[in-house]
Amino acid sequence: MTDAALPHSAVEADAPARRDFGLKRRHAAERRFRLYGIVAIFIGLGFLAILLVSIVSKGYTAFVQTAITVPVEFSADIIDKDNERATNPRVLVSANYPVVARNAVAKALGVSPDDKAAMREVAKFVSDGNRATLRQIVMEDPSVIGTTRDVTLLAAADIDSANKGQIDLAVPQDKRKVSDRQIAWLDQLKAEGAISTPFNWGLLTFGASSRPETSGLGVALAGSLYMMAIVLLCALPIGVAASIYLEEFAKKDRFTDFIEVNINNLAAVPSIVFGLLGLAVFINFFGLPRSAPIVGGLVLTLMTLPTIIIATRAALRSVPPSIRTAALGVGASKMQMVFDHVLPLATPGILTGTIIGLARALGETAPLLLIGMVAFVADAPTSPLSPATALPVQIYMWSNEAERAFVERTSGAIIVLLAFLAIMNIAAILLRRHFERRW
């Protein structure tokens, strides 16, 4: 021992030759790899930025809407010519409110009601969709008839576009949708302070409409919410129960292998196939109504189930086996072991998987087209059985419209959808943190 040590130290004293560990090469490889990683991240972020910038720049204007505040005369001659509202309240419902709106704007602009040509342009200046607003005012308080009061009216979609600077005025008058006279009126009203651009709540509340200024995501939002609730209520308990059974109770044999393979296959099945399945099973066989969120929800449940099962099984599997033996060792039953110890530890993973599955379902379009959720639905659904659309379907439908105002609404709807997805993903992260902090 000491013999061996002596010559060694002698050599060391002579020439402290350093051994070659190939450090230079290893460090270079690491630096290269880091560089690749950073480049990859920047490319990814770049694409994301391009997507977001293009959507937001096209869509942010959809969140404001041009409105005209003018004194409106609730003329009894137009609303209730024959003075029969006391006996027949239906006249107040079917009254010609668009004319009330037009006359009000015409008066503010100094246009004579007898000037037919000018009145036609006024009719295209203010939205006929103001019918609902005016009707509501009258229905709430019929005594308003015969008086004049300031009302904020929606501008027509083209005027809204002009006000937002989206109309190219260099184009000759007859080739654009807004006439020079209308532009002049717009400027006149602006100068009088009658034009405002409030937040466009209608985008979130209105249903389908052929007029852009009165069409919104209300029905689609309600439909999507119903469907998400159905997916959550059905897919989460079924998925978690199935996973717990497969992971903790079932014997590992050919049969469970077979189920496992099939679940993985289901997760990879294109969503349109689920749509066909839903059409055949839920609508044709069980006779559920078409276009209804309940069918959409069930179809999306089928689609989300494999995702949730796979995520849950992975989460259960990642719970260390020592926890199970510990629980069984103190005499816990299998059920107590699962619910007292394993499941709480698996919760973050289960929730993350569920929310990711939900987010995927929220953006799913193809199967909904097949079950008839691509429909013109004007009124918000009162139950999951009444017709509705869904957010991505609404985007699809609007993107087929040519009008400038629908183009910005398409992007606006995409922003809303992305906002919901972002909220869900943030919720996934927060829930994960919350449950992880408990140990």
Binding site: K252, S322, I323, T325, A326, G329, V330, G331, W439
Partner: protein
């Protein structure tokens, strides 16, 4: 060699003759992991209110035998037990036996500390709670307190009972697991190398505890320390390559082993 003479002269059972029947008894116990046999025809009696230590080289099947005593082997895929193991004359592998009850009566401290990722208090209280041992909160507090005290952990954790058990050191975790096991008041306590992660002081506390528990519990302990086996147990069983080579009164095994392999092991020549 005096070995042969000893072997021929003391053919009678080495354990002290007792009137009480054995608390647990294994007859022709064989354990298989898949196709691989880990235990071969083990016959071993575990006397009531005494400490039995299992010794032997690593991989010889001590943990396997211990696990078959409370059927923790059931949880291992592909593990199969044959032969007969009784607890108070009842065959514990009989279909009429409920493993939950069995494990409440035969508690276990595992080789690797495995506290629940819950608070220290909850770790100890969990067993008594699911078995309905404590009638109320005061009862439970008392059980938790006395279990932790007996496991020699009370002074270290009394101010942080609500902190996670997983935040303790390895040795503290092992004592927490011991406290958890005794909190359910099992009749038999199986301890798989309970002191392997402990310092000499904590080891002494645990050995004292074992000695004290012996009055009310039956204890089976696996240990790699000959001194510990000699100190705490009344009976010792030596395993080698899945076979029970020799068993008997601890002092006989250590002073007068009949088998050459036993002698080699306790004198440090194999293992």
């Amino acid at each position: 060699m005096s070995l042969e003479t000893v072997a021929t002269t003391s053919a009678a059972p080495v354990t002290a003759p007792r009137n009480a029947p054995p608390k647990m008894q294994g007859e022709k116990v064989c354990v298989f992991y898949g196709a691989k046999q880990a235990l071969f025809d083990v016959d071993l009696k575990i006397e009531q209110f005494s400490v039995t230590s299992l010794i032997g080289p690593s991989g010889c099947g001590k943990s396997t035998f211990l696990r078959s005593l409370n059927r923790m082997n059931d949880t291992i895929d592909g593990c199969r037990v044959s032969g007969k193991i009784t607890l108070d004359k009842d065959d514990i592998y009989d279909p009429s036996i409920d493993v939950v009850e069995l494990r409440a009566r035969v508690g276990m401290v595992f080789q690797k500390p495995n506290p629940f990722p819950k608070s220290i208090y909850e770790n100890v209280a969990y067993g008594p709670r699911i078995h309905g041992i404590a009638r109320n909160k005061t009862d439970m507090d008392e059980i938790v307190h006395s279990s932790l005290r007996r496991a020699g952990l009370w002074n270290e954790v009394k101010d942080r009972l609500n902190e996670p058990g997983t935040g303790l050191s390895g040795g503290q975790q092992q004592r927490l697991c011991i406290a958890r096991a005794i909190a359910t008041r099992p009749e038999v306590l199986l301890m798989d190398e309970p002191c392997s992660a402990l310092d000499p002081i904590a080891t002494a506390v645990i050995e004292e505890l074992i000695d004290e528990l012996r009055e009310n519990f039956t204890i089976v302990i696996v240990t790699h320390s000959m001194q510990q086996a000699a100190r705490v147990s009344q009976k010792t069983a030596f395993f080698h390559l899945g076979k029970l080579i020799e068993e008997g009164k601890t002092e006989d095994i250590f002073t007068n082993p009949r088998n050459k392999q036993t002698q080699d092991y306790i004198t440090g020549r194999i293992g």
